[in-house]
């Protein structure tokens, strides 16, 4: 990254991609640093204190054993009630968890740490729909946050032993008599190598190696069950030995393809377009030379010239989470209440902790349909004017009962509007000519096309004066454009 290209635009690009964007002042603060300093501020985030507290329920439940026993001994009628109660609690906690995480993204001191946590959530896509335990979902989220920029093997082993993952891909039940191949397959196909880089035989043998890695429901923790483990010889990737789970994951990470695969996926996530084979090779080489440390790879990416190519800047569709968090930051408004956040992102096609399947969200252009685009346009009014009507539809299509409840609860919610006085100075509000560039700088960090600028100018010019409500309407219009959906 040549220093002479480092300016407001490139700094904004870095903050948008490595984090969730920022207001002009925050971008300006990065722009006056050197590129290396700016990247270091994002990447070496341990230096920044983080005092966020965890949700109260984010710990093992001391009464769990007692509760499970009570449920076992209860009459069928009582048990049904207990189960219903527990599931209701879980659903509410997931809504809370979603808001807790979004709050970290919107206001936390370490944007890249949260962005990487989001990357890993999409990569190791695990859904609460099956895991049905908010504590375990929080725990996996915390794991991504703790190990997300560390070592590849360490992360992979921790994920393989993560309770939510053990449940999600059925590893918890896998025993030597009938090994479950679900995790063994997906860890190669989706997490480390990609299709075509392993054989069916590798899958069955890896599944044998992994037997015995399981989940203890009482302790709510990983457990190794020696009686379930297949002690026989296995042949994986042409190598033969008495492999266990750890051995298998070490073999996996040692494959050159494992470095290529994850480097390319990370580039695609941050740059918004798949890397060329040459770039993939270069990134993978950097990654391997650094001992498979993600931090080095990230630093290299964010300092590369390729990352700031004109075809990369402002050519990525914002994910729904990026759209929401970025908009909240840009509008300097508080995050809406948890239920509204769930509705907002669900309508746009990204329900955190409930990815559509083990492959995660497709991302990119697939975020955009006629529906989700109109939903983005209308949800802008929720954020700007506090109108929750566009969100009320965000319930699960398959659960009409839950739908009604959701809509009823939404109808009772009121969220505040944006304070236009915060966004622009008195001087900027003096005239349309002064306001428009400030608006572009805040919303796009780029210029609208002349035709569009004219529409905004005409709209504002048609207002008797530049009141708060006229300004919020103009922002609403600017957010209701194809351009605003890009970052």
């Amino acid at each position: 990254m040549p220093a002479d290209r480092w300016d407001f635009t490139t700094a904004a690009h870095l903050l948008n991609r490595a984090g969730f964007g920022g207001v002009p002042m925050e971008i300006g603060r990065l722009a006056v640093m050197s590129p290396a300093q700016a990247v270091s501020w994002l990447v070496d985030y341990e230096r920044i204190p983080d005092n966020t507290t965890n949700p109260a329920w984010a710990q093992p439940d001391p009464e769990r054993a007692e509760r499970l026993r009570a449920a076992r001994n209860a009459s069928p009628e009582e048990r049904r009630k207990l189960v219903q109660e527990m599931q209701k609690n879980q659903r509410e906690q997931i809504v809370e968890l979603r808001a807790w995480w979004l709050q970290r993204m919107a206001c936390g001191p370490r944007p890249l740490q949260e962005k990487m946590t989001l990357f890993w959530h999409g990569h190791f896509a695990t859904s609460a729909e099956k895991v049905r335990d908010a504590y375990l979902m929080w725990r996996q989220n915390d794991l991504f946050r703790r190990l997300g920029t560390g070592n590849w093997l360490e992360l992979l082993v921790a994920v393989a032993k993560d309770p939510a993952m053990l449940i999600w891909l059925d590893q918890a039940q896998s025993r030597k008599e009938h090994p479950n191949e679900n995790f063994a397959r997906e860890v190669m196909e989706l997490f480390t190598l990609g299709e075509g880089h392993y054989t069916e035989k590798d899958v069955t043998e890896a599944a044998r190696a992994l037997t015995g890695w399981s989940y203890d429901r009482l302790d709510e923790d990983f457990t190794e069950r020696p009686m379930w483990h297949d002690r026989g010889e296995k042949t994986i990737f042409g190598q033969t030995g008495y492999f266990d789970g750890q051995d298998f994951l070490e073999l996996l990470v040692a494959r050159p393809q494992a470095a290529r695969f994850i480097s390319a996926k990370l580039w695609n996530f941050f740059a918004g377009t798949p890397p060329s084979p040459e770039l993939t090779d270069a990134l993978a080489a950097t990654f391997r030379e650094a001992g498979n440390q993600f931090k080095t790879l990230l630093r290299t990416m964010f300092l590369s010239q390729e990352f700031y190519a004109p075809s990369i800047i402002r050519n990525q569709v914002k994910s729904p989470v990026q759209w929401l968090v970025g908009s909240v930051r840009m509008l300097e408004r508080p995050l809406p209440p948890p239920l509204v956040c769930t509705g907002l992102t669900r309508n746009l096609g990204q329900d955190l902790f409930a990815p559509p399947n083990v492959k995660g969200w497709d991302g990119g252009l697939s975020w955009i349909t006629t529906n989700t685009l109109l939903a983005r346009y209308n949800e802008a009014a929720t954020l700007l004017q506090g109108d929750v009507a566009p969100v009320a539809g965000g319930a699960l299509a398959n659960r009409p009962n839950a739908n009604r409840q959701f809509v009823r609860r939404m109808a009772q919610l009121r969220i505040g509007a944006v304070d236009a006085g915060k966004l622009f100075t008195e001087k900027q509000r003096e005239s349309v000519d002064a306001l428009l560039p400030a608006l572009e700088r805040r919303l796009l960090q780029a210029q609208f096309k002349p035709e569009q600028e004219k529409v905004l100018r005409d709209y504002l010019g048609g207002q008797p004066e530049l009141t708060d409500s006229a300004i919020l309407n103009a922002i609403r219009l600017a957010m209701s454009t194809p351009e605003y959906q890009l970052t």
Partner: protein, 441 residues
């Protein structure tokens, strides 16, 4: 040479300014023909044409929660049935008999009439190998038509859109509901979902006062028009100009924004002007099918409609719940069929139901049933091979797998039939391999 205009050409048509500024839907026939001729050579032969006035339509009806198929199509003459269900089993005298062995649930009078008039095919024992009892996973299997051991990224209808409707108008698939079903997931996102036509639009909010300058709605429209459309002075010569495909994300967004406006205008105009020709029940399903009937009547160029009805997860007190749901189902579908008949559109409409699984053969201790496996599907239309298709799976305890019915018809052979015989497209690229189509249509 074709004399109708394909969806792809319709959109290019709009993008290429002849009607741009007005965002009008109707294309004058002489222009359509001219355009067709100009584009004939370039036309993608795989793309299905849809005018909204001919061509077949599929309505998929999801019964979410896992409907108890055994109390829906009842093997009333089977002793195993009554032994397994001493409390919730339906007596012979109550069921609507189809033959000497099976009958419909008493609440399904609507379906019985359809059956008697030769418009209802019942596929018995539909399911798949290695059944999964999780709602989440089994729904996914039905929606993606995958093997239970594999994960498919795209839905089976999404793959139909990708394979047979590329470049189509987004309303080629319409889901009535808040969310797009997984079945619609496609490489090229296609389809529209709406619970209420009034919500499927840019909502300008209270500050919009039509007719005044500074009108939000008007500004919004201008902001979301790709540049070509702003130029209303173009002539017909522009039709043969090169198509701009920069492939950028912005280009894609601009096209989608135009599609959104056009389909929103069209759907709301139809919903506001077309009258239903039958009385539909006031339930959620009834209202969904009522809207579908309007959209068909108004010639929306749609091949696939998707509606759903929930609540079938009857672990407790099944009798009352299922009776209410099935009555709603039978009545809503009959009203829809009546509406289609009155419109004259019945010959080109096929409705197919599915549920993620049936339920355990034996009732549980709470007067309900737990998650099971195979269950019947219903296929309804004027051109179906009416009657009972496939084998009713045996209820003999020794024939069950972990207490569940074994499937006799792979649901994908039903999908294959619908794709091949009804939507007239090859099923293999969509379903991933060849499934012998069941003779339904």
């Amino acid at each position: 040479m074709r004399d109708e205009i394909t969806l792809q050409t319709r959109r290019e048509f709009l993008r290429h300014t002849v009607l741009g500024g007005a965002l009008s839907w109707t294309v004058p026939t002489f222009l359509a023909n001219t355009f067709s001729a100009l584009q004939a050579e370039a036309a993608d032969q795989a793309t299905q044409t849809t005018t909204g006035r001919d061509g077949t339509i599929l309505v998929v009806l999801q019964m979410a929660g896992g409907n108890d198929g055994i109390n829906t199509v009842v093997p009333y003459a089977d002793d195993h049935y009554h032994r397994a269900r001493p409390r919730i089993g339906l007596a012979e005298a109550k069921v609507l008999k189809l033959n000497g062995e099976v009958g419909l649930h008493p609440a399904l009078t609507g379906f019985k009439e359809l059956y008697d008039s030769g418009r209802l095919a019942i596929v018995q024992g539909a399911g798949y190998p290695n059944p999964n009892r999780s709602h989440f996973r089994s729904t996914e299997i039905w929606q993606t038509a995958s093997d239970s051991t594999r994960f498919e990224r795209y839905g089976w209808l999404g793959r139909y859109f990708d394979n047979a409707c590329s470049g189509s108008d987004p309303t080629v698939g319409v889901c009535i509901g808040h969310q797009m079903p997984q079945a619609f997931t496609a490489r090229q996102p296609t389809g529209v979902s709406l619970d209420n036509p009034q919500n499927y639009r840019f909502m300008a909010g209270g500050s919009s006062r039509p007719g005044q300058s500074g009108n939000m709605e008007e500004s919004f429209r201008k902001l979301n028009q790709p540049e070509e459309d702003a130029n209303s002075g173009a002539t017909i010569g522009a039709l043969s100009g090169p198509v701009r495909h920069t492939g950028s994300a912005l280009d894609f967004l601009e096209r989608t924004a135009l599609d959104a406006q056009v389909s929103s205008d069209k759907i709301r105009s139809i919903a506001g002007s077309v009258q239903n020709a039958a009385t539909h029940p006031g339930s959620q399903l009834g209202n969904s099918l009522k809207l579908v009937a309007k959209l068909i009547g108004g010639s929306l160029p749609t091949r696939i409609f998707y509606v759903s009805q929930g609540g079938y997860d009857t672990h407790t007190n099944q009798i009352n719940t299922q009776e209410r749901l099935l009555k709603d189902l039978g009545d809503s579908v009959s009203a829809f069929v009546e509406d289609m008949r009155a419109q004259g559109n019945l010959p080109r409409v096929l409705l197919m139901t599915f549920s993620e699984f049936g339920r355990r053969v034996a009732e549980n201790a709470n007067g309900g049933t737990d998650h099971g496996a195979a269950a019947p599907m219903f296929v309804i239309g004027e051109k179906v091979k009416s009657g009972l298709l496939g084998q009713y799976p045996s209820l003999a305890p020794s024939d069950l797998f972990q207490g569940d019915l074994k499937f006799s018809v792979d649901f994908r052979s039903v999908y294959a039939a619908v794709l091949e015989s009804w939507l007239k497209t090859k099923s293999e690229p969509i379903l991933g391999r060849k499934f012998a189509p069941l003779q339904i249509v």
